[in-house]
């Protein structure tokens, strides 16, 4: 497994999450269904193989461990990411976040506001503070990739 391959596998998963799972999530009635969807979402992202989980990829500030890999296509000014988390709910939320930012230009990524975006998707109520902090740490790490 290489970063290239992970990036290639992540992209369609994110498109599917954005196009299919997000609408489904917003339709879900009870919390049980919401969480089931969130966890299924996370499963769609290809996991980063253990061997590739270098300590430098670890995102600090999460209750559960999470990892982020990044590739910047300079010609097209696009940022691409691969992420993984050992906790499934967090991974689902991170997958949603990634589906919103993957492929963004440098300027777009700099401007992106997670809280605002989640608010628009009616996802904010599902972000308790503790989970929020893991997400925020991941978001901060993604933003650090900006030029």
């Amino acid at each position: 497994m290489t970063l290239d391959q992970l990036l290639t596998d992540t992209k369609p998963a994110l498109s599917q999450i954005y196009a299919e799972d997000l609408p489904e999530l917003s339709q879900a009635r009870d919390w049980q269904s919401k969480y089931r969807i969130l966890m299924q979402l996370g499963r769609k992202l290809p996991p980063i193989p253990e061997k590739m989980k270098q300590p430098s990829l670890l995102v600090k500030g999460c209750e559960s461990r999470a990892w982020l890999m990044h590739y910047y296509n300079q010609h097209q000014d696009q940022h691409f990411f691969v992420l993984d988390s050992e906790a499934r709910i967090v991974k689902g939320l991170m997958a949603i976040m990634l589906s919103l930012v993957n492929g963004m230009s440098n300027a777009e990524l700099k401007k992106f506001e997670l809280a605002h975006a989640f608010d628009k998707l009616n996802l904010k109520p599902y972000l308790s503070q503790s989970r929020g902090s893991g997400l925020n740490a991941m978001m901060a790490r993604i933003k650090d990739c900006c030029r």
Partner: protein, 405 residues
């Protein structure tokens, strides 16, 4: 002595009236405060507020009297031999830092050893690491046995290396296991070591008699004993306290200051620099006085009954890894849903208004030894009810179902 009545007891905590939907099982992190504690703090600020030990005025003298009365009450509560053996500090963490820092050079010389166990909270690991490494002192760690209890054989072997200080917890905050403290203290003392007991979880479980326990130090946090946050107790035998170099310096802890040197005040003031948490001490004393009036054996039995019901219920839920043992357990159960991350389990419980802690509980070394990401911890208190037990079991069943569906 009043008999323990669970309904009346719970009724004294307004928190539950304000949070009726919640099942609170995170008592090992912090406990709720009964009205007597809240009222004592409010009343102090409303009626008696003044700084202590400083003013010539009557108000300050009144505040000082109330603060020093709190010290007396707490001394009585743990049966300390003398009032100056109660040092107020901000909590168990502050106390352990004071002890680790304070014993360097006076007791611990380069080349000496300190012994802790693999079950300790970070507060009883990191201060030792920090000060030992700067001082050339070796830190040894007693490993655990297969039941996650401190390996007593290994403890004896490591004692043979003659550590000058032995420091361990009375009750594990992760598993709830009650250590054989009396036995471990006497073994450590037999080798001439100073003994430090982290009583953060121990103080609330049992009636503590520090003279009977005979450790040199016993430290705890007020907020885990129905008291306010920000106050804790460093108990030490007088001779042991005299060995400590103060970690904080400033007002009240000195008797004479000039720019070339200062003379330290007597105990307890020598170890209490700056304005203390006056209201906190008064609030904590109120908690101790209140507890002393309640039959502690009945409280313990009630908590044991809740724990027994909880363990019985767990048996009916398949697919759990239960890390805590039901025997010698102070009311804490750490477990995992097999193959699932504790953060996910804790979050699904949170969704069902069951407050537990999921993670490593400030005991990373413990979990790395087991190769676990952590655990979900249910910790019980006497204000919990049988309904709490039933609700939390149901919620756990539901969480496991969602996760393994």
């Amino acid at each position: 002595m009043q008999p323990f009545d669970p309904v009346n007891f719970r009724g004294q905590f307004q928190f539950f009236q304000h949070n009726p939907g919640w099942v609170y099982l995170d008592n090992a992190a912090t406990m709720h405060k009964p009205d007597v504690v809240v009222n004592a703090i409010t009343s102090f600020y409303q009626r008696n507020n003044s700084n202590v030990h400083r003013g010539a005025h009557t108000l300050s003298q009144n505040a000082t009297r109330a603060f020093e009365q709190a010290r007396d009450d707490i001394a009585t509560f743990i049966n300390a031999g003398a009032r100056q053996q109660i040092i107020f500090c901000s909590g168990a963490t502050a106390a352990l830092n004071q002890i680790a820092f304070g014993l360097m050079h006076t007791v611990l010389q380069p080349g000496d050893r300190v012994l802790i166990t693999a079950l300790e909270h970070h507060a009883n690991i990191v201060p030792w690491q920090l000060h030992c490494s700067r001082f050339g002192v070796t830190l040894d760690v007693v490993p655990l046995d297969t039941e996650h209890k401190v390996d007593q054989q290994a403890f004896a072997e490591l004692l043979a290396l003659k550590p000058k200080v032995v420091s361990f917890s009375h009750i594990s905050n992760v598993l709830g296991h009650i250590q054989p403290v009396a036995h471990m203290i006497s073994q450590a003392k037999a080798t001439g070591a100073l003994t430090v007991i982290d009583g953060a979880q121990g103080i609330v479980h049992d009636k503590i008699d520090v003279q009977a326990l005979d450790a040199d130090f016993y430290v705890w946090s007020g907020h885990k004993l129905y008291g306010p946050t920000g106050i804790g107790v460093l108990y030490g035998k007088t001779a042991a306290l005299e060995l400590l170099t103060p970690i904080f310096a400033g007002g009240e802890m000195i008797s004479e200051v000039n720019f070339s040197h200062s003379l330290f005040n007597i105990l307890p003031f020598r170890l209490e620099a700056g304005t203390p948490d006056i209201a906190g001490a008064i609030g904590l004393a109120a908690a101790c006085n209140w507890l002393q009036k309640i039959n502690s054996e009945q409280v313990k039995n009630y908590k044991a009954m809740l724990l027994k019901q909880f363990f019985a219920g767990l048996k009916k839920i398949g697919g759990l890894d239960i890390l805590s043992s039901p025997v010698h357990n102070a009311g804490i159960v750490a477990l995992n849903v097999q193959g699932e991350h504790p953060a996910d389990v804790a979050e699904l419980l949170n969704q069902q208004a069951v407050a537990v802690r999921g993670g490593q509980h400030c005991a990373m070394p413990f979990f790395s030894q087991l190769g676990l990401a952590g655990a979900v911890r249910f910790s019980f208190a006497p204000y919990n009810t049988e309904a709490d037990v039933a609700t939390s079991l149901q919620a756990l069943t539901q969480a496991a179902e969602i996760l393994t569906a």
